[in-house]
Subunit: 362 residues, 2 copies
Amino acid sequence: MDDIVSPLALIDEDKCRRNIRHMIKKAREANVSFRPHFKTHQSHAIGRWFRDAGTEKIAVSSLSMAEYFAQDNWQDIMVAFPVNIREVNKINDLASRLRLGILISDADILDALEEKLVNFVDFYLKIDVGSHRTGFEPGDKAQMEKVLQKVSGNPKLRFKGFVAHAGHTYHITSLNDVQKIFIKGSEALAELAEYFRKDYPGIIASWGDTPTCSLMNEFPGIDEIRPGNFVFYDFMQYHLASCDWDHIAMVVATPVVARHQQRNEIVLYGGAVHLSKDSIEIDDKIIYGEVVRLVDKGWEPFPKPIYVNRLSQEHGIFYCPDEYWEEFLPGTLVGVVPVHSCLAADLLKNYYEITDNVFLNI
Amino acid sequence: MDDIVSPLALIDEDKCRRNIRHMIKKAREANVSFRPHFKTHQSHAIGRWFRDAGTEKIAVSSLSMAEYFAQDNWQDIMVAFPVNIREVNKINDLASRLRLGILISDADILDALEEKLVNFVDFYLKIDVGSHRTGFEPGDKAQMEKVLQKVSGNPKLRFKGFVAHAGHTYHITSLNDVQKIFIKGSEALAELAEYFRKDYPGIIASWGDTPTCSLMNEFPGIDEIRPGNFVFYDFMQYHLASCDWDHIAMVVATPVVARHQQRNEIVLYGGAVHLSKDSIEIDDKIIYGEVVRLVDKGWEPFPKPIYVNRLSQEHGIFYCPDEYWEEFLPGTLVGVVPVHSCLAADLLKNYYEITDNVFLNI
């Protein structure tokens, strides 16, 4: 660890691989297929851990990410983001090389898409199961039928099914409420798939989000799950009880740079450009991550939890109880479990694997 | 603009250069020297616009940034962040090549610094003028004297003065309150400089932060100013009245990807990985930026302001009044004035200059 001089994402390969195996086993036992979302790690190396465990199809959240994973020979990629018609050249290029899935979330895109699409793609209708981010309302079959009729004669667009992401589970801490969201949303999705299957045999219902996929064991009516964050988990997922502490597979290593004993505060070289400004509120306090002790090949929480309370561009600040004060001499490397590992990973770009002490080849 | 297919930082060179000239003129008239903070743009190209206007010394917020600007031959760089002793090799390397300033914010760092420092550096004492991020309390002269005595025999460490950054001005919307913060903080800083000048002739009082440097015209007792954000400004600075609308020199170009008329919402390809999650609260609503119309060689606000209300990793969502609905067809490129241009620029990395329609060589 002496070689780590500035903020860096530490990951525990064993925990990642265990998280991956666990989710694959769950999918198999629940008889749903598995299309993990790779926006969390954005790494060829970590993608290969999935491949080692049998994964063949993935989801990503941008066409650039699809291009990146295509370079590592992923051959079945869903871009789980509404079609950005300005990037149609990327769609055409990717579709010429691999099985590409795109999301239609708005009928207004169809004219331009039909005009500019050169190669064959799968398309899914994005369904809004309650997060109100994007997608067709489940009850709006008329609109969906209009879309499907419009493209029915187009051999380049194959209707593949319905996609939902229950983003509102990220704001819920009760298992019971997550179950309710899943049941309501998955029933709507399954009903749509069944209704349209008479005309489009083989279409699927695909379901995302780490809280649901972590907390539920059965996925009735669902054909495919697309969790992403679970490979690392993070402080938010731990707070939502989507994972145990021991499942968290990534922390951000940050050096202590200054201490202010008069207010028990410690300053880390680790700010918004390393952890992101994503936060969570606990007991009316904003939290940007949990500070952990780095130990041999791992990390452990402090018995009295310590949270990063403030962030600016490069500084992170936390309140340190007296009993831990002497552990945080300037220059000490500490860990921070980020609130949102996807954003921290996107910012930090590199990974250092702590069991073998190696930088991963992203 | 047809070549812009995904989120990109657009900048207006004329506005940037005007902001730079304006701040340089203000510094000259106020008889303070000018050491702009380059953490905002992190760009060789934009750094040269400062050089064109006569700037010779700069501040940055990390040693990596110092290395980056050293590559473009900046010869006088202050790293305005507490010494990170784990990066002492970078300090030694930079100090061998240029005039390097470092910040001491904690006496505990001195032993390690003295032991490992090879080359000559300027050092400043960081003073906490009320933001309580880091630094010595202005009243704690005893501690400062201890530091200065400890290093007084060390020819590699030259005491250069006091540095303050009034980060708490970023939470204030009244000119009167900003003035109060400046007067209180600058008097404390000036008093320290005067007190220690008897033993250390030539030491300076250096003051940062864009709101103060934008709003004040005189800086009594201050020898140097270090604003950074003013080169672009942003929605937060506009909200704080640090700048006029016309001074904002950067927007993020984002394509519309979907619309949901039943709730008047529009989805942009532009999320937390492009704008950052930095936000501001207006009328009890969280805002991630202001949506603007891109016009020939520029942008303009909508008469009824439109704000980005929600962000996830790649999606941005805003409420669109009926009268503008037809402007936002999927595929349309719109602008977003980010809440915090420093973080958006850090995320987007590239700049597209809209007057000459060229990508800047960062």
